[in-house]
Each structure stands twice: as structure tokens, then as C-alpha cells.
């Protein structure tokens, strides 16, 4: 498996997410499905690879998210097939005079619809499922073993369906920027001043989309020390003809009173609505709160993480190289361990991320629309199944 050599080499959660999904797709297609319990086998295989992937870079939460999404897809497809089969059986068993139309209609129901139906029966209904206009006609699955005759075809179908669904997921990840950007016009109004920090592709696409819709607005870009990706963003914005002002991170508070909205990207969105974002974001969020400026976070659905943050400043953080802060050669005499007590007097700490608590976030914009931080857990319940929160093989013995 090519899983090992990927630590710290892919930049950005979108790329990581896409590659993870592609890798898992190939795992699934290569996995030989046994006669019984195919879903279990697939889940096992995905978990085995997923575990390694997550261990390779525990800080990149997108990897774990995608692994869980794929697991969820397998479960859903399996469930939908079972319900479909049972439904079929039930229908054929109950009476013969049921007209064929109904049967055909039932079997040709999209897997997603059936899954949604099954979900609605198994779980407290989410807002989305309630709104969806699904025929909640599927019977409650009963624990009766379905006929063995159609098992082999079913297994092949399961694998096929799962791969289809994973392809859809990959498609979603690829197009998430566009889907988020589509909503830009609803949020950015004429002559507004937008502030952002650092550089995020989601944010830049969002701003470009608004610009293309002939909105005229101004952007303040905080440079995002120590990686100064804000400089690149400013360059891109100017290239698209947007009025841009570059400021230092420390000037954010001074400028925030003139800003109408803060729009930023995120590294990950946790289940409680907290955000893991590039360092300096908490500062911006606090400033925005102080001046009652809306703080909007853009995040593709692959960034939604079903975990709750515990000690996020340390456990979900990444300490990057101190050389981003200062030149090692310049300060080499401060770093001389050879004299004194043997430990240097100068320490350089360079955390990559900040944790922004949910109460500072006004709105999340994902590819599924805008959401309140307190709604995040429901969104997450749609994407992940509760069994997969812990991706460890020994936890699935009972499956």
C-alpha cells in the first residue's frame, strides 16, 4: 500500500481529502468480497487502511473525516440494499396482487433515498430528512435472512454502489469550492468591506465569485504571519481587479471597526462548532466579536470533523519549524547549548493553528449551505455514522 509515504507532503486539506478518498476507492475496488457479510469485510479493509492514514498525520483531520465518510457510505449502501431486498421480499411475500408498478418503483428507488428512509426510521429525524420529500414507505427492516440466491449479485452490487458513492464524494470534494462560492452573492453586498486572514482557496474563490457577479467591494487582507500567505492572496485578488488592502496581523483590531464582515477559511470544524484555523484567527474572532462584526467561516464538508475538541491548543495543533520565525544562522549564538546549563535561553515556538470557540463564530458556510455553529452536530450526524467515531479495528469486533 502506498499509504506510508504521504506524511506532511500534501499541502492543504482539500488535496489531502481528495487523495484519501481516491486511495480508499482503490482499496475498496481491490478488496475481494467474501460471500457473507460483505459490508463487514469492506469496513474492515477501509478501517485498516484508515488507521494507518490517520496515524501517519494525526493533525490533518480531513484524512480521518474522509475515512469516516467512506465507512458511512458503506454502511448506508449496505443498509439500503438490505432494506430494498427485505422490502422486495416483504412485498412479494405479503400478497401477489400488489401491482408490479409499486414493486418496480420500490426497487428502483435511489439508494440514497432508501438510505435516507432507513435513517429516518433508525434515528431521530434530522431537519434535512424532514424537509426532503421522501416516500417513507419502506418497511421497518426485520431480522430475517434474505434469500441466498441473490446474495452474490448483491455483493457485487454493494461494491459497485459503494464505489459509485465514493466517486460522488470525490466529486463533492473537488467541487466544494464552487458550491460554496455559489452562495457568495447572498452574503457579500455592494460596497462592503471584507476582512480575511492568511490565504485559503475557499475564501479566494468565494470572493472571486462575488466579484464576477458584479458586486463591488473592498478586501482587507491580514498577512498571516509567519507564513505570510496573505501576500499571495493579495496578489491574486489584485489580479482579479479587487480593491485590496494588506495589513499586518497586529493591525486587525485597529481596522475591524471599518469592516462589515470577516470571511475566513478553516483547517477543520469540530463537532461543537469550534474551528481549528491558521494561527492568529482567534485574535481576529475576538476583535470581530468586540465590534459585533459577523465572523463567517467557509469550510468544505470534508472539513467537518465528528470529534469534539479536547485540549485543541495542543492535541490538534502542529508545531512547525521555528525557522519560519527567525533565521537560524542569525541566532545561532543564542542557541549555543555548549555553555551554561546546557539548555538554551531562547526557545522558539511556532504553532500552526488556533482554536476558535463556537461562540465567536457567527455563521458557517459549507457546500450544503449556511449553518449556525450550534447546528453543526446535526450536519455531522448526516455525514457520519456514530459507530465510526473511533476508527480502530478492535472496536468493530461486534460488527
Amino acid at each position: 500500500m502506498v499509504a506510508h509515504g504521504r506524511q506532511c507532503k500534501i499541502e492543504g486539506s482539500q488535496a489531502t481529502a481528495r487523495q484519501t478518498a481516491e486511495l480508499l476507492r482503490s482499496v475498496i475496488s481491490q478488496q475481494r468480497v467474501p460471500y457473507t457479510n460483505q459490508a463487514g469485510a469492506l469496513i474492515d479493509a477501509v478501517k485498516a487502511v484508515g488507521e494507518q492514514l490517520i496515524a501517519a498525520n494525526p493533525v490533518e483531520l480531513a484524512v480521518g473525516n474522509i475515512v469516516r465518510r467512506v465507512l458511512h457510505i458503506i454502511r448506508e449502501e449496505d443498509l439500503s440494499l438490505t432494506t430494498a431486498a427485505i422490502g422486495e421480499l416483504n412485498l412479494s411475500a405479503v400478497s401477489d396482487d400488489e401491482n408490479d408498478d409499486d414493486r418496480d418503483g420500490n426497487t428502483t428507488l435511489s439508494a440514497a433515498a432508501v438510505a435516507a428512509a432507513a435513517r429516518s426510521t433508525l434515528r431521530p429525524p434530522s431537519l434535512q430528512t424532514l424537509l426532503e420529500d421522501t416516500p417513507v414507505s419502506a418497511a421497518v427492516p426485520q431480522t430475517s435472512s434474505s434469500g441466498a440466491a441473490d446474495k452474490s449479485s448483491r455483493s457485487r452490487k454493494l461494491k459497485h454502489d459503494v464505489i459509485e458513492a465514493v466517486n460522488e464524494l470525490i466529486q463533492d470534494i473537488v467541487t466544494c469550492h464552487e458550491q460554496i462560492a455559489e452562495q457568495a452573492v447572498e452574503h457579500i453586498h455592494q460596497n462592503e468591506v471584507i476582512l480575511t486572514l492568511g490565504s485559503s482557496r475557499t475564501v479566494s474563490e468565494f470572493l472571486f465569485a462575488a466579484k464576477e457577479k458584479k458586486r463591488s467591494f473592498r478586501v482587507f487582507v491580514a498577512e498571516g504571519a509567519p507564513r505570510y500567505q496573505g501576500h499571495l492572496l493579495a496578489k491574486e485578488l489584485v489580479a482579479r481587479g479587487l480593491q485590496t488592502t494588506l495589513i499586518t496581523d497586529s493591525a486587525v483590531f485597529a481596522m475591524i471597526s471599518r469592516v462589515n464582515m470577516v470571511i475566513v477559511g478553516a483547517h477543520a470544524v469540530m463537532a461543537n462548532g469550534g474551528v481549528i484555523a491558521p494561527v492568529g484567527m482567534n485574535l481576529v474572532a475576538l476583535a470581530a466579536q468586540k465590534h459585533a462584526v459577523p465572523f463567517v467561516v467557509l469550510a468544505g464538508s470534508h472539513k467537518l470533523c465528528p470529534l469534539y475538541p479536547h485540549n485543541p491548543e495542543v492535541l490538534l495543533n502542529e508545531l512547525r519549524s521555528p525557522s519560519e520565525l527567525l533565521d537560524f544562522g542569525e541566532f545561532s549564538d543564542c542557541m549555543d547549548f555548549g555553555s551554561g546549563s546546557g539548555s538554551p535561553l531562547l526557545h522558539v515556538v511556532n504553532p500552526a493553528f488556533d482554536y476558535v470557540p463556537p461562540k465567536l463564530v457567527s455563521l458557517f458556510i459549507t457546500d450544503a449551505g449556511g449553518h449556525n455553529p450550534s447546528y453543526m452536530y446535526r450536519l455531522i450526524a448526516d455525514y457520519y455514522s456514530a459507530d465510526d467515531l473511533v476508527v480502530q479495528r478492535r472496536a468493530i469486533a461486534g460488527n
Partner: protein, 735 residues
């Protein structure tokens, strides 16, 4: 500074975006990794395990190098193994490096290689390097991006075919007091052309006592501007063109990469090969050369300068660790350690998998390996403890290295700078003195300072080890008695191992290269000495200005040269002597001996007068070594030897100067090394005259020269007065 820094960062970010992988992909980049440092700085540990497999923050060093090479876009690595090659190859075979896609690791094994030069010659013979390659040693830690350096190298190569090598350097200020870099290496002087970045001068063994370095005047004549640096650190990462290998083959006496190859190229203006430098700023690169750099690089890794090669990022099969916050600093932990609640683990500490820590123990700034057991009330400070070490209650360790399987009995104390090699046992309440090195192996007897012999010894270390380990395992008692026999102090009750006596450099130099920080008193001592020096210098200057007399620079440089050549000539003499003795023993033909001496002469750049002196010296040495009972017998022996080998000697006596040189040499011998000859001086002079080795002119001129000398110098002239008189008369008669 801030703005500049930002620009640099932005540029780096831009470079990252525009980084074109095609360029690298066109020709797969190769690398040669020398898995042997060909030195003995890490003894006694390296007697049992090769240096590249020593754990650096719980990961064998070679993994850092390989991980970096992989990340830097190298496609194929040739690992050259020499000492303990089996261990290296076994390790690599069991690691994941052999199964990487797009990254092949191949090993080249050889046992009789004693230097980097020989290794490269062997690789050249194998004809595996096809294009530019990275030359690196297996103990280098880096995270730099090669793209830019490689690009520069290629562009230079296109313009100028003689630009064969790009050396990576990094800024690092040496300490003004100790005159060594933070990595414990000697202060390095480099002259670099600021425009082209060409390296013009490289000196790592400058003589600090003199306070001068000498540059060839031609350098200044040829290069309008030169910047002379002493704040650069050589990273020992070189990007080389394939010519480098053939250069090594052409110059078979190149051994050391820097001392011979780099300096050789810089001095040699016939071929006109050029070396360029590439300075890295924000990225990290350092080579572990001695115990001090082991300490410093470990600390750099823990402080994350080598990111992403840090303990909590998985880069090569190391177990993932997690960070914990201690105050504002971070400690790397493995998830499965047993730690007593009352134990205090301080900041910048890495603790390996499965280690147990007892109550009230204090650990700070240290690295602890896997499976260690640490008792209660133990104090560990700035130390490196490898795997499966047992430290019993109440031990104290400050700034030490403790290798695998060591057992420290209760209450033992290790003073700063101690190195305990594998499986040593320290007895109860035993205090190991500072800077001592303890090993189960006995210290090999020190050969003369001939480095090559030490190299050779290095590779035979394994054999020695296996035999001694057998005895060590038999019983502790036997071992201790053995150690007491061997005049070494015991390591307390139940202790096993030998304390090595401190070699050559002596205690004086130990502190420079040990893991312990430089003691305060040493620093004050040195700075006082430096102040004195400065006073002297200023005094000199004032003296100069008052007297108005200028000492020309050439004077100083001459002195330096003499010093150098003196060194060389000593080596040369030794070599010639060895050749000669071998010739006598093995009855080699005179012609062959002449040939061999000639090749020595070329490699040491000596004149024929030097050769004559050396040959004569060895002949006389032989004469005095042949058993004799009386002076007359000695004279007879000498006469015999001179008769047998006169042809050899004569081949170097082209002019009268050489003959005088012989007489002077003989005189010197009689005065110093071979006093037995002194009564025979005149007679042997006569023999030499008889055998036509010396002409009368030479003897007479020698006598004339000595006329004006001190009384003490005239002893031998007096002795041979009669003979000289006779010669004079004879020549007058002829006239």
C-alpha cells in the same frame, strides 16, 4: 530585518508554488551516502555499532538522512557500508526503505576501505553514477530543499564545465572564546567570491595561537573581491558532478573529502576545477561529527528546527509520539509509558515507548529510549539514554550518553561528559569521573597517530567485540577481576566494563567534544587567556609603532609554511623509512625502491634533497638497529649497508646541495637520535667519501659553512678536521 524576513518567506512560498517537478524528473537524481565516517570520534560506542545506526532522538541517524534524501527528490541512493557493514545492511533490509516507490536504496559493501576517498574510487569503478549526485554522509540531518541549489549547480555547469561541486554552507557563528562552532567543530575559515559564490579558500585547522591565517596573494590578484568568513558552517552536503569521482580516481592519494579533495582542488590551478557554495538560510543542515554535535543536533531536533523530522511526526517507522505542554514548552511522550505521579518530567524531553519512571524522579532536557526502567529519586539532566537501560534508585546522571542495555546500580553517579557503551554495569554508589568513556571492550592500544591504521582498526571492531562479549556474558565476577587486572579502576561492586584512558588529546581537549556543556571555569580560563593574547598583540603593536619597524607579513606566513612542511616532512621521513625497511626485509630491487620513494616524494611534494636526507636517515637507522657490540662493528655494519644501498642514495644526489644536506642530516642524527654515531662521525664521513657518495667539494663547503657557527655546532667539524685537512691538501695538489 522583519521586512527582509517577510520577503524571504514570501519568496520561499512563491518558490514552493512555482517549483517545477519536471526539471528534477528529467534525470533521476542520485546520491551517495557514506555509512561510515572513517573517524574514531564516537569510540567506544562505534566499536560495537556503526555510527549511522546510533539513535538520535530514538531514531537511527541514517533514517534522518534517508528521509531527507527522499523528500529532496533523490531517486536512487547508494549506501556505502564499510565498518559493521552487516549491521547496516541488515538494518536497511528490515526497514521500509527498500520498499519505497520512486526511491531505491542500494548498498555497496566493502571491508578494506579506510577513507572516503577510497570509497568514492570504488563507487567510480562500479560505474553506477550517471549524472549529478548528492554526496552526503549517513550522519547528516537536514530539511533543506535541494531544488534551488541543484538548479544553480546545473546552470553553472552549463556555463563552465569546470564547476564540479556545490558545497552547502550555513551561517553559524563560532564562539569567540572556545574557537569552535556550536557543533563542536573547529573554527572554519572560508574565502568566497561574493558575486559568483566560488569557494577560494578553505581552512578548518587554522592555528589560533598565532592569530593569523595566510591567504595566497594570487587569490587577491585574481579575484577583485573576496569575502572571508569565519561564521559559516560546512554542512557536508555536496552536489557533485560525475567528474568528482574521476578526480578521486586520478588523484589516488585523496583520502579526506575536505582536507585532501577540497583543498587539493583549490590549490591545483592546472585543471582549473572550481567549487561553489550555496548558503541556506531558513532550513536546517548539520552533521554529527562528535559527541557535542550529537548533543546539539538532538536538541535542535527536539526544538523542531529540523521539522518535519521531529519526534511527533512519523517519518520512518518511528512510533508516533504525542506532545504535552509543560509550561510554555513541549515534551514528546509516547502513549504507553508508565510514569509515577510524583515523577517530574521537564520540558524538551522525549520519552520512548514502554519506559517506566519511578516516583520523585526528575528528568529534564533529556532523551530516553524505549523499554527503560528508571527507579525512584533519579535525577537525569541533559542526558541521552538509549534503549532498555535500567537505572536503579537514587542515581544521578548529568549530560551523559548511556547506550543500550546499561545497568546502573543504586546510587551510582555519572559526572558530566561520561559515555557508557553497550551493556556496561556500574556498581552501587560508584562515581564515574567526568569525561570518562566506559566500555566492555578494552581500549585498543594506541598506534602512532597514523589515521589510516585507526581506520583499519575500526572495521575489525566487530570481531573483537564478539569474542569479548562472550566473556562478558559468562560471569560478572570474572569480568571484574579481569578489569582490575588490567590496571583499570573497577566500576564499583558488581561493575562490568573498562574505563578507557583518555587518549591523545588528553583531558585538556575532552571538554571540547563531549556532550556536557563547557564548564564555567574552562570558559573563564580561556577568556582570560584570550585577553592576555590580546594584550600581547596590542603590546606588539605599540612596540612596533614606537620602534617604527615593520615586520613583514611574509615573515609570519613563512613561519606557518615551515610549520606545515615540518609536519609533512616528519610524515615523509617515516614513510620513507618504512619503505626502506620493507625493501631490506623483502630484498626488493633497488630500482623498485627508487620508484616507490619517488612516488612518495611526489605525493608529499618534497625536493630530492629531502629524499636523500630521508633515505640516508633510514639507512643509518638500520645500521644502528643491526646488533653490534662495539663501535668498530657498528662502523662495519654502516659500511656494509652503505655499500649495498649506495645506488639508491646516489640517485638522489644530483647536486652538491643534496650532499651537504646528507652531512647536515648526519650531524643532526649524531646530536639527537643516534648518539652512538657521534664518535664515528669522521670515519663514516670517510666511508661516504670513499664510496663516492660525497664529493670533496661538498665536505669542504660544509666545513666552510660551519666555520662561522657556534662552538657547540663545531664538534663534528673538529672531529673530522684531519680528514678535511687531508682533502684540502689533496685538492691543492691537484691544482
Amino acid at each position: 530585518m522583519g521586512a527582509q524576513k517577510k520577503r524571504a518567506a514570501a519568496a520561499a512560498a512563491a518558490a514552493r508554488v512555482s517549483e517545477d517537478p519536471d526539471d528534477l524528473a528529467r534525470q533521476p537524481l542520485q546520491a551517495i551516502l557514506l555509512a561510515d565516517s572513517f573517524t574514531t570520534k564516537f569510540r567506544p560506542i562505534t566499536l560495537e555499532r556503526p555510527k549511522v545506526l546510533l539513535p538520535l532522538v530514538n531514531v537511527p541517524m541514517i533514517n534522518y538522512t534517508l528521509a531527507w534524501l527522499e523528500a529532496a527528490g533523490v531517486a536512487e541512493v547508494f549506501v556505502f557500508c564499510c565498518a559493521h557493514s552487516k549491521q547496516v545492511i541488515d538494518y536497511l533490509e528490515n526497514s521500509e526503505w527498500f520498499s519505497q516507490p520512486n526511491f531505491t536504496v542500494k548498498t555497496i559493501e566493502s571491508h578494506n576501505i579506510i577513507s572516503a576517498g577510497d570509497a568514492l574510487r570504488l563507487i567510480y569503478e562500479q560505474n553506477v553514477i550517471h549524472g549529478d549526485f548528492v554526496l552526503i554522509s549517513g550522519d547528516t540531518v537536514s530539511n533543506m530543499s535541494l531544488t534551488q541549489a541543484l538548479q544553480e549547480h546545473k546552470e553553472r555547469k552549463k556555463k563552465d564545465n569546470n564547476a564540479v561541486m556545490t558545497m552547502i554552507i550555513k551561517k553559524s557563528k563560532p564562539s569567540p572564546i572556545t574557537r569552535q562552532s556550536r557543533l563542536g567543530t573547529d573554527e572554519l575559515f572560508m574565502a568566497i567570491d561574493p558575486n559568483t559564490k566560488q569557494l577560494l579558500y578553505y581552512e578548518d585547522k587554522a592555528d589560533h595561537s598565532k592569530g593569523t591565517i595566510c591567504l595566497d596573494k594570487m587569490l587577491l590578484a585574481e579575484n577583485p573581491s573576496i569575502s572571508l568568513h569565519n561564521d559559516k558552517q560546512d554542512c557536508y552536503i555536496d552536489i557533485c558532478s560525475p567528474e568528482v569521482l574521476s578526480l578521486f580516481t586520478d588523484n589516488f592519494d585523496y583520502q579526506h573529502l575536505r582536507r585532501h579533495f577540497v583543498k587539493g582542488l583549490l590549490l591545483d590551478d592546472i585543471m582549473g576545477y572550481k567549487i561553489f557554495t550555496h548558503e541556506i538560510h531558513s532550513s536546517y543542515a548539520a552533521r554529527i561529527d562528535n559527541y557535542r554535535s550529537y548533543d546539539i543536533v538532538s536538541k535542535d531536533i527536539i526544538q523542531r528546527w529540523t521539522y518535519p523530522y521531529v519526534p511527533d511526526v512519523k517519518f520512518c517507522g518511528n512510533r508516533a509520539t504525542k506532545l504535552e505542554r509543560r509550561g510554555i514548552c513541549f515534551t514528546a511522550f509516547n502513549s504507553e509509558i508508565e510514569q509515577s505521579r510524583s515523577a517530574q518530567v521537564g520540558s524538551f524531553t522525549v520519552i520512548g515507548y514502554g519506559t517506566k519512571i519511578g516516583s520523585n524522579s526528575k528528568i529534564s532536557d533529556s532523551v530516553i529510549g524505549e523499554g527503560c526502567t528508571i527507579g525512584s529519586n533519579v535525577l537525569i539532566e541533559g542526558s541521552y539514554i538509549w534503549d532498555n537501560v535500567i537505572i536503579e534508585d537514587g542515581c544521578e546522571l548529568r549530560h551523559v550518553i548511556v547506550c543500550d542495555g546499561v545497568i546502573m546500580k543504586a546510587g551510582a553517579v555519572l559526572k558530566p561528559g561520561v559515555v557508557l557503551s553497550f551493556k556496561v554495569v556500574i556498581g552501587e554508589r560508584f562515581v564515574v569521573p567526568a569525561y570518562s568513556k566506559v566500555s566492555l571492550l578494552q581500549q585498543p592500544t594506541v598506534h602512532d597517530s597514523d589515521e589510516e591504521l585507526e581506520y583499519a582498526d575500526n572495521s575489525s571492531g566487530t570481531v573483537e567485540f564478539s569474542s569479548i562479549q562472550g566473556t562478558a556474558d559468562q560471569s560478572n565476577g570474572e569480568m571484574t577481576s579481569e578489569s582490575s587486572e588490567a590496571h583499570k579502576p573497577k566500576l564499583g561492586t558488581g561493575g562490568v566494563g573498562y574505563i578507557w584512558s583518555i587518549c591523545e588529546g588528553g583531558q585538556e581537549e575532552e571538554w571540547r567534544h563531549s556532550v556536557a556543556p563547557i564548564p564555567e571555569d574552562k570558559l573563564t580560563e580561556l577568556s582570560e587567556a584570550m585577553d592576555d593574547d590580546q594584550e600581547l598583540v596590542t603590546q606588539d603593536r605599540t612596540a612596533l609603532s614606537t620602534s617604527g619597524e615593520l615586520i613583514s607579513d611574509s615573515n609570519a606566513s613563512e613561519g606557518d609554511d615551515n610549520e606545515d612542511s615540518k609536519d609533512d616532512s616528519v610524515y615523509f621521513e617515516k614513510e620513507v623509512e618504512a619503505t626502506f625497511l620493507r625493501a631490506v626485509e623483502e630484498n626488493v630491487k633497488v630500482d623498485h625502491v627508487i620508484l616507490e620513494v619517488n612516488s612518495l616524494r611526489l605525493s608529499y611534494n618534497m625536493t630530492s634533497a629531502d629524499c636523500a636526507g630521508a633515505v640516508f636517515y633510514s639507512m643509518m637507522k638500520l645500521a644502528i638497529k643491526t646488533p653490534h657490540s662495539s663501535a668498530s662493528e657498528l662502523q662495519q655494519n654502516t659500511a656494509n649497508i652503505i655499500t649495498t644501498w649506495q645506488k639508491l642514495l646516489k640517485s638522489y644526489l644530483l647536486e652538491i646541495d643534496e650532499e651537504i644536506e646528507i652531512i647536515l642530516k648526519f650531524e643532526e642524527m649524531c646530536l639527537e637520535s643516534a648518539k652512538e654515531f657521534s664518535p664515528l662521525f669522521a670515519r663514516i664521513l670517510h666511508i661516504l667519501y670513499d664510496k663516492d657518495i660525497l664529493q670533496e667539494d661538498a665536505i669542504l663547503r660544509w666545513a666552510d659553512e660551519k666555520e662561522g657557527a657556534d662552538e657547540s655546532d663545531k664538534v663534528f667539524v673538529r672531529q673530522s678536521e684531519k680528514f678535511i685537512q687531508w682533502l684540502r691538501e689533496a685538492s691543492e695538489e691537484e691544482d
